[in-house]
Amino acid sequence: MAITIGRAGGALAPLNPDSVSEDARGIQVSGRFAGSTSTLTRMVAQMIPGLNNADEPVVPVLFDEDPDLNGFYRVRSASVDLEPDSIINKHFRWSVSLDAVDDRAAPQVDHILDSVLRTNSVSVTAAMSDPWFAIPKSTGVVVSEAVAAGGVHDFVTETGSISRLVHTAPPPFREVARTICRPEHWYRGAATVERKWGADWVPVVGRQAVAGNPVGAMGISNGIVRVRLADDAPDGLNFSCWDGGWESLTTVWCRVHSSPAYSPTRDQTLTTFTILRNSPEEVRVRISGAAPTLLGTLDLRLRRGSPLVEMRWNITGGTVTLGLPGRLITVPNNTPFALANGGGGHIIGADAAGNRMLQMWPVTSSNTTASTWSTALGFLPGTWLTYWASQSWNSANLRNQHFASTAESARVVGA
């Protein structure tokens, strides 16, 4: 018998319980994990305790032998018993205690959406902005009408189909959209923090597990766009977009400028990777490092269904004049553009599949207009996919979606 609990388990590291006890409230499962390598053993030893976390109080649980038990469960406790030689000997015992939520096979889910117009120095108004949110495409999905009024569009991501819903009301608003989801569909297009274990990139469970050296080992993805700390280009972030395969790789550096200019140029180092939030609807991570004598923190946010990664770069510990965004974000082979109603960026020429990567910033600046920031800069690398061409989204559409910033948290309804 194999079991998948939230993001733990699966083909790479199957969890095979040797004891399943069921009562009126829920189930307790425990077993012995025997990994094929120490790396896998270490991975699972981090995953299981991570299940008990505030970002995902309720997780889908799947049983391959008894699908009647499949459903959403609240994690009551999750632990592993590590002994001195557990990792070397590649086995340990684990146990997880789960409370079933009411109507566990397909419960209702409240998506709490707080949408505001992002403060901007360009002239994007609330009416121009396009708030949206995305849910996993699931059998029998029900959506409250107010939210779906702007249309429902289905997309295929690396991890399954999602439905992207467009609001009609301009922000600010709070809306609670209710949907129904089946447990096996919950992680479709989910925002994910990934860590590389050996040769495999695997979702991180909870906020605890981070690599000692994140370079080349950590990343975030939602199956549409992906950011990974590059190992081939130190201090760089590799961006890529999905259109049936990962395409359009480009590398971005956060380049600090001062007056007089640093020579050679200096990039913020990517030393520490912290998970600020790790839920299927949204992940947020912070990458800190020296920039170059000051402290730089780069916050990345990625929502389910987003073609853009929202980034916020802060410099603390002193003041530098950060230079032009066009120099901050050094991308080879790019074409600068300026948008009507403000904002600008670069488009990297279409790849063989016709996809284009773009980088934008929500301030009045084209690539060639001088503009400076002393301590903070927001920008958003993203993709303009051929996949999405049916929507005719261009960079201005993407900008307008970005400006309707929506904080989202999901709550499974029921005790």
Binding site: A54, R174, R284, V285, D299, R312, N314, S409
Partner: protein
């Protein structure tokens, strides 16, 4: 403003030489200082310790040798029984601006700190006779609050034994010092996060539709406030409060009454936060404003947008009205007997430390600190 208080329990084995420093016959009114980390008082002066203080109290009592109690330094302006510095000037109405009124009423135990003048400068004609400095400050602040329409004007005795006064912007209360939210803790380039459980209560317990206010002499005024409420008969709700304060002079009475009505003619929201954070008073001071953000509980204000920890937070900005902070191992606690140099007794090794869990009482920004109870040090 009510005084904060403290209560410090020492262990049974505290040496006599230490508890002698709290001998009430000769050492009453000594100064209790709490710092977030311990500093060896043999290598720094009492003034340095005071500079690092996050809670400064005045020793008022001792129970069973090892339990010390007292009030926050605000007590120098008048303790709960009304004893303190009372002006002995004779009747002679004077017209001063805000700064001068505050400058003329500094108790000898305190120093004159940052007092801003109120702009636009308006002269207040006032004749304080036989009233405490606390009442003097309250009346001056109330008068200027109504005169300028700026309800953030108030006074404060800080932990460095200074009298400060001015608007919220002058006193630094307008800028949030932290964001309280259920599950983030720690440093952030924008604002620190404080992990806290938030609870909200809305009530109309203290709502009044009209205040009847008696003041010095035979005078009285009635002031009505906003009234959005109706009773079962469809008539406006009547909730009058009668109160009098013979310390308030006729010059200030109408505006003092109006200032109370403007505070109490609305429903009141009280929030409390409990946080396990160590030495919370080092992060958040009583009177300062903080943001509270809990999306799941609906503690949000969509008119507020702050780029915070990778997202846009919509915090509700509120003021910290009171903090009840446990004394936890790692802090420093000292008793200073006033003298020119200050004789410092280090209580730190003898304090019976408490477990984490500070409570923060939060109130809405427009609400005044008057009649609130700040800075309680629990023990």
């Amino acid at each position: 403003m009510a005084n904060g208080s403290f209560d410090v329990q020492l262990v049974d084995g505290t040496p006599q030489s230490v508890t002698d420093a709290a001998d009430m016959a000769t050492k009453g009114f000594s100064t209790l200082i709490v710092t977030p980390t311990w500093t060896d008082p043999t290598i720094v002066t009492a003034t340095t310790l005071l500079g690092r203080s996050v809670f400064t109290g005045v020793l008022f009592g001792r129970h069973d040798r090892t339990r010390l109690s007292g009030h926050h330094a605000t007590a120098w302006a008048g303790d709960p029984s009304g004893i303190g510095e009372i002006t002995e000037r004779t009747s002679n109405p004077m017209a001063f601006n805000f700064w001068t009124w505050m400058r003329n009423s500094v108790p000898s135990a305190l120093s004159f700190g940052a007092v801003a003048d109120i702009v636009p400068a308006t002269t207040f004609t006032f004749d304080p006779v036989k009233i405490s400095f606390r009442s003097w400050w309250d009346q001056v602040c109330a008068w200027y609050r109504v005169a300028t329409g700026n309800h953030s004007i108030e006074w404060q005795v800080d932990d460095q034994l200074r009298l400060n006064a001015g608007t919220g912007a002058n006193l630094g209360y307008d800028t949030a010092v932290a964001i309280l939210t259920p599950d983030y803790d720690g440093w952030d380039p924008v604002l620190p996060g404080v992990s806290a459980d938030l609870t909200v209560v809305d009530d109309v317990d203290d709502y009044i539709s009209r205040l009847l206010f008696g003041f010095a002499g035979a005078g009285g005024v009635g002031v009505s406030g906003a009234n959005p409420y109706v009773d079962f008969n469809g008539l406006a709700v009547v909730r009058k409060r009668g109160t009098s304060d013979t310390g308030v002079t006729s010059d200030a009475a109408t505006r003092v009454a109006q200032s109370i009505v403007e505070r109490d003619d609305q429903s009141r929201r009280k929030m409390t936060a409990t946080t396990p954070l160590f030495a919370i008073m080092a992060t958040i001071g009583v009177g300062q404003s903080v943001g509270c953000w809990d999306q799941q509980q609906g503690i949000i204000d969509l008119t507020q947008r702050v780029e915070w920890r990778g997202t846009i937070a919509n915090p509700v900005y509120v003021r910290c009205m009171a903090i009840t902070m446990p004394l936890e191992a790692g802090m420093g606690v000292y008793l200073v007997e006033g003298r020119s140099e200050g004789i410092v007794t280090d209580l730190t090794p003898w304090v019976e430390w408490e477990s984490p869990g500070a409570r923060i009482d939060l109130g809405f920004l427009e609400r005044s600190m008057i009649a609130q109870r700040p800075g309680i040090l629990r023990s």
